[in-house]
Structures are given as C-alpha cells and as structure tokens.
C-alpha cells in the first residue's frame, strides 16, 4: 500500500459504530429537545409552535430560580467537605508505612458502588420523622426528647441531601487523588527530606502544588455532576417549600409528572446554560493562576 498517509475509507467504517450510536442516542435527542422547546406539547395532542413562549416563561419562573439556588447550596455543602476529606484521606493512605491502607481504600470506595437511589432510600428511612433510626438513637441517648422532623426543615433537608452525596463520592475522589499523588516523582520528596523539610512542609509546598491538575479535574467533574444532582435528592423529596428540589428534579417533575414536555425541554436548556456558565467560570478561574 501507499507509503505516506493511508487515506483508506475503512477507518471511517471502523469509527462509525460510535458515531452512529452518538447520533441516534445523543445528538438526535439533543436536537429534538431543542425543537420541542419551541413548541407546546403535552404528549396527547399534536405539537403547536409557540416561539419563545417557553423561554420567557422560564425567565419569569421563580420556582426555577429557587431550584438553581438549591442546587448550588447542596453542591457547595456536599463538595467542600468531600474534597477536604478525600484529600486528607489520600495524603494519609498514600503514606508508605501505614497498615491496612489497601483495606481502607477499598472500604472508603464502597459507597460509590451503591446506586444513588438506594442511598436516597436508605437515608430517608434513617432520618424518618417517626420511625427513623437516627431519631430513635438520639432519643435513647437522651440528646433529644421529641423526634426531630428532619425533612420539615429546609436546612436539614439540604444537609441530609448533601451528606448523601458527600458520603457517596468522597471515596471516588480519594482514589483519584491517590493516583495523582503516586504520579509525583519520589525524587522530589527525597530532595525535600535531605533538605530537612517536615511532613507538613512537604505536604503544603510539594504535594498540594503538584496535585493541581488533579484538583482541576475533580473540580470540573464535580461542577458538572453536582449541578445535575437528581436521583438521591429525588428519593429524599422536595423538602418544605421545595427547599431541596434541584434543577433536574424540577425538569423531571415538569416533563414526566405534569406531562409538559415542551416546557420541560425549555427547562433542560435552561439547565444546560446554567451548567455551561459555572463550568466556564471554573475553567477561567483555574487558568487565572497560571
């Protein structure tokens, strides 16, 4: 065959499966959603073109703004402790002479294997007002007298939702950080040791700066994932005054509970822009330091 660049078209055929799959299951729905967002459609009658009506409704929808706020609050409350926890654990479990570190790495990773829906159900049972174990425990320890109605308080609802997410993902992020730590060359540490640096100094001045790319990765994925919070909070409910309803839960309720597919599509694009916005900010902020 030719000696230079092989321009055989078979290559296209071999990459075709992915692109066909993406076109059918990815691109089509995205474009169809865009089309729907300009329509009025409840699934029963034929779609009617309404122009930007859905978007102007979205811009005036205080419930939607509330869900953006809720999502951000839950995201911050779950991610800040989660990142701190996973970095600390990664630093500890990356030490060479720690007993059972493989065991602990596995154990901390376990929650990640459980599906979020299951976690949501478990936590909602644990924090049940009348029959939950948490209340029973606190009451038998004498800390409280009457059971606390956790899900009747906006902040407790959000804290519990954040707790579930934090608990689920800290193990995964810990593994990512450990991988990052192991890619730092040992010579750097040895040099520091020779220079008489303490453990704290090495951690602060060598490890953390060299972990920056990993931080960036974890941060951006957590922005995208965190803003699309759905399954676990769904199992925990809307909360009092919809205080723990996230953006995607709102999308789900609009489209699949009220059968307002067209407005649901507009909400989906609204979420898309919100996520884009925050991802852009994150990316920008991380570049500023360069």
């Amino acid at each position: 065959m030719g000696s230079k660049v092989n321009r055989s078209f078979y290559g296209y055929i071999f990459v075709a499966p992915f692109f066909i799959g993406f076109a059918v299951f990815g691109l089509m729905p995205i474009l169809y959603t865009l089309y729907l967002s300009f329509m009025k459609w409840d699934g029963f009658s034929d779609p009617v073109y309404v122009g930007l009506a859905n978007y102007s409704r979205l811009l005036h929808d205080s419930f939607f703004y509330q869900t953006i706020g809720n999502t951000l609050i839950i995201w911050i409350m779950s991610n800040v402790p989660q990142l701190i926890l996973s970095v600390l654990l990664a630093l500890v479990l990356n030490e060479r002479f720690i007993r059972g570190k493989h065991f602990f790495r596995a154990v901390y990773f376990f929650p990640h294997i459980i599906t979020p829906v299951t976690l949501g159900v478990i936590f909602s049972l644990m924090f049940d007002w009348q029959t939950g174990t948490i209340n029973k425990l606190l009451m038998s320890l004498g800390i409280i007298h009457d059971p606390v109605n956790w899900f009747n308080s906006p902040w407790w609802s959000r804290i519990i939702a954040s707790g579930v997410i934090c608990w689920q993902y800290f193990g995964f992020n810990m593994i990512v950080f450990i991988a990052g730590l192991q890619s730092i060359p040992r010579e750097v540490y040895e040099a520091a040791e020779v220079d008489g640096a303490t453990k704290k100094q090495t951690a602060l001045h060598i490890t953390l700066p060299l972990l920056r790319p990993v931080f960036l990765f974890v941060f951006i994925t957590s922005v995208i994932g965190g803003l699309q919070l759905f399954d676990a909070p769904l199992m925990l409910g809307d909360g009092p005054g919809n205080s723990s309803r996230t953006m995607v839960m709102y999308l789900y309720e609009t489209a699949f509970k009220n059968f307002d597919y067209s407005y649901g599509a507009a909400v989906a694009y609204g979420i898309f822009f919100v996520v884009m916005f925050f991802t852009a900010i994150t990316a920008k902020a991380s570049k500023l330091k360069d």
Binding site: A16, F44, T131, K257
Partner: protein, 435 residues
C-alpha cells in the same frame, strides 16, 4: 492484497450490520404482534377467533386473559406487562408514534384523566357498552367517561376503602370490636377527634386513633368539587373545614403521623399501635399473614365518608384492527361472571353492584373472620359522587396534599396554605385562571 481488502470489507459490513440488527430486531418483532390477528369477524358464527394484545402494569390481567381464553379457545391473548411508573410514558410513546400499539391498554386512576379525552380511545358507547355498565357503581362507570359523556374505558372492579382495625386493640380502646358499632362511633371527624384524645390519654400517648391526618386527603379527594371548572381553579370551601379538622387531629395527638404505605405505617397496621387504618380493600397484602396468623384478626368499619383509592381501567385503541374482538374482551371483564371469579380468587371488589348484592351476606375473607366485609364497603361506595376524570384533577390534588400537608406540620393558617397552593398551581399549569 485483494483478499485483505475483501476481508476488511466483510468485517466492516458485519460490524455495522450487527449494530443495525441490534436496533432493528425489536421493532420488527413487535411489528408482528401489532399487525397480527385476523380480527374477530368470526363473532357471527358464535365462536370467536383471533389474537389480542393487551398492555398493562398489573399482573392479575394474566388471569383475566386466561379465563377469557378458556371461554374462547379460538382467541389468543397476549398480555404484556410493564410494571412500575414507566408504563404510562411507554404507552404514550407508543400511542404517539402509532407503531407497536396494543389493541387494549390499561389506564390507572392516577392518570386516566390525561388519556380519557385523547384521540387514542375508542368510543365504547357506540359499540353498546352503556348496557355493560348499567348496574355499575356510579363512580366506577363515570370515571371511564370523556368530557362529552361517552364511555371510553371500563373497569372490572371498584376500589372502596374503609377503616381496618385489629379486633383486640379496638376492644381495648373503643370497648367493642363490632363493625357496626364502630362505624357509628366514627361516623364523623369530630367524633374521631374526641375518641382519639381519649385513646391517646388512655395509652399514655403510645397508641393513636388514626395513622395520619393526611389520610383525610385520600378520603375527601373524591367527596369534594373538582379542582378545575371552566378553566378556572376551584377550591371547594369544604377544604377549609377539612384543613381545620386536620390541624385538630395533629394538635390533639390523634394521629401517629405515619404516611400511607410507609414502613412505620405497615408496622402499625400489624402491631396494633394505631386503632384505625384507612385502607383500600385491595391492600390486604400489607398484612403479615404468615402461617395464617392474621386470620380473623381484623375488622372493617365505615369511614365518615366513602372513599376509593386507585382503579384500573381498560380501553380499546382507536386504530386497532381488532376492535370487535377487543370489545368482546371488555364485555367479558364487565360481566358478573368474571367479577364473581375475581372476587373469589383475589378479593378484588367488583365494579358491578349486582355482584356486590349477590355476595353481601355470603362473602367472607380470611383476615376478617365472620364479618361480611362487603357490607361496609358497599354501603359507602355507592354514595361516592360520580365524577369524571380530567387532566388536572390528580396533579392538582397532589399539590394540595403537599402544600396543605406542609401547612399541618407547621401549623400554618388556611390563607397561607391557599396562597402557596395557588402559586404551585399557577406555576405548573399557567393556562389555568388561578385567582
């Protein structure tokens, strides 16, 4: 070189082919079932022949199909079951695309209102179905009608509810376990609140009269005016009284604060820490009856107002090629014969009053010992107002549940509740006139 080229070609074709086959096989499979069946024109000769496809979310439809098949061996009935919440989305998608659509499909009470006025359901009145429902419980037949009054779907059962109580708990706290006496004792909400205060005091707050003040939503949902009238939100003034009662119940420790079908609710039903549980007749599976240990343990009393919970309706797809045969099936499930069989086998309450009446003094259910359980149900279920289902009713009711339930927990004023409720409704259904 040539062979290599060929090999590549064959390989890539295979690769793509296998993907396309993976996507396509399902469609062609189901295409067969949809078009299958040579319609029931054999009806004239007496024996039915053909093939029916039914979609449902409810596994007991299989028995229905078996019984129908036993009577009409020439008809094969293919029941496709899609359990869970996704059924209606799946059904709607199929109906929208017009491909792979069943001849008969089931609709649940919760969303029948959305489908009933759609173009997908055959007008059963025109096929003579008025005759099938002439002896029906009023509310059961009315729910299957579209806004123009035509029958579009028919159910084979009613789903009445009553207060279930454990006999020994009732004896201890109410002084009797006789269903008629208890029905009298709890014939109004005021009486229930008064009795409930006593129960709470007698038991030191350990035992409660009812499960949840939210149960009033279930009972009153179908005893109040529809939520939407002429495109306008309509809040029945009765809700104000009900809300006040709910606050009283909560304030006086009358309810155990356990939500319907939650784990704690199930425990209370089985261990007797709640005296009265408002239960639909079909929910007997929540009772732990291992080794018959719950035999004769329960009684049923009437609720202050009759109520029902759920219900499965069956309609014929408007473009089905098997309409006549499908109608025979609908006719069968509306018959006394099937409903009698169903009552005996599963304990599902009939939709036809005649079946109720024929069994009033004879039907017994193991959980309830000697009690004629059909009586309390029948006496209340016939009084439930007949109302049509519309596309808003159930959704708006669930918004009311959410907002008013929240109001009860936080002891809010009725005006606050109404304001929040209006906001929610306006947001979900901007086309409605809310003020």
């Amino acid at each position: 070189m040539k062979t290599k080229k060929w090999l590549m070609m064959v390989l890539s074709v295979l690769l793509i082919g296998s993907i396309l086959a993976g996507c396509g096989s399902k469609a062609s499979d189901s295409g067969n079932t949809a078009s299958g069946g040579e319609s029931g024109n054999a009806a004239e000769s007496g024996e039915l022949k053909g093939h029916l496809v039914i979609w449902t979310f409810f596994d007991q439809v299989k028995d229905m199909a078996d019984q129908f098949h036993a009577k009409n061996p020439g008809v094969t009935v293919d029941v496709k079951m899609f359990p869970g919440d996704q059924y209606q989305t799946k059904l709607l998608t199929a109906l929208q695309s017009g491909r792979d659509v069943p001849d008969i499909f089931d609709l649940e009470r919760g969303y029948i209102g959305k489908f009933i006025d759609s173009k997908f359901l055959t007008d059963l009145s025109a096929m003579g179905a008025e005759d099938l429902v002439k002896d029906y419980i009023p509310y059961v037949q009315e729910l299957g009608r579209s806004q123009d009054g035509k029958l579009r779907a028919i159910s084979d059962h009613s789903s009445p509810g009553g207060f279930w109580y454990q006999r020994d708990t009732a004896k201890k706290y109410l002084g009797t376990d006789d269903p008629d006496k208890i029905s009298d004792m709890v014939s109004s909400w005021d009486k229930i609140v008064e009795l409930g205060k006593k129960v709470a005091a007698d038991s030191g707050g350990k035992v409660h009269m009812i499960q949840n003040t939210g149960d009033l939503f279930d009972i009153e949902a179908y005893n109040t005016q529809p939520w939407v009238k002429d495109g306008k939100l309509n809040i029945d003034p009765k809700w104000q009284t009900i809300y006040q009662t709910q606050l009283d119940i909560r304030k006086n420790n009358v309810d155990a604060k356990l939500p319907f079908m939650s784990a704690g609710w199930g425990n209370a039903l089985n261990d007797g820490s709640v005296v009265l549980t408002s239960m639909p007749a079909w929910a007997g599976f929540m009772v732990d009856n291992k080794d018959d240990k719950a035999k004769g343990k329960y009684g049923v009393a009437k609720t202050p107002e009759g109520f029902y919970s759920g219900g499965t309706y069956r309609g014929i797809y408007d473009k089905s090629k098997n309409k006549d045969l499908a109608y025979e099936f609908i006719k069968y499930i509306a018959s006394e014969e099937w409903q009698q069989h169903n009552l005996e086998k599963t304990g599902n309450m009939p939709g036809n009053s005649k079946v109720y009446e024929a069994n009033l003094d004879t039907y017994k259910s193991p959980l309830f010992g000697d009690e004629n359980v059909l009586k309390p149900y029948y006496e209340t279920v016939v009084k439930i107002p007949a109302a049509k289902a519309d596309k808003y009713g159930e959704d708006i009711m669930s918004k009311w549940r959410k907002v008013a339930g929240d109001g009860v927990t936080n002891n809010r004023s009725y005006d606050d509740v109404v304001n929040n409720f209006k906001k929610e409704v306006k947001n979900a259904f901007p086309e409605l006139n809310v003020d």
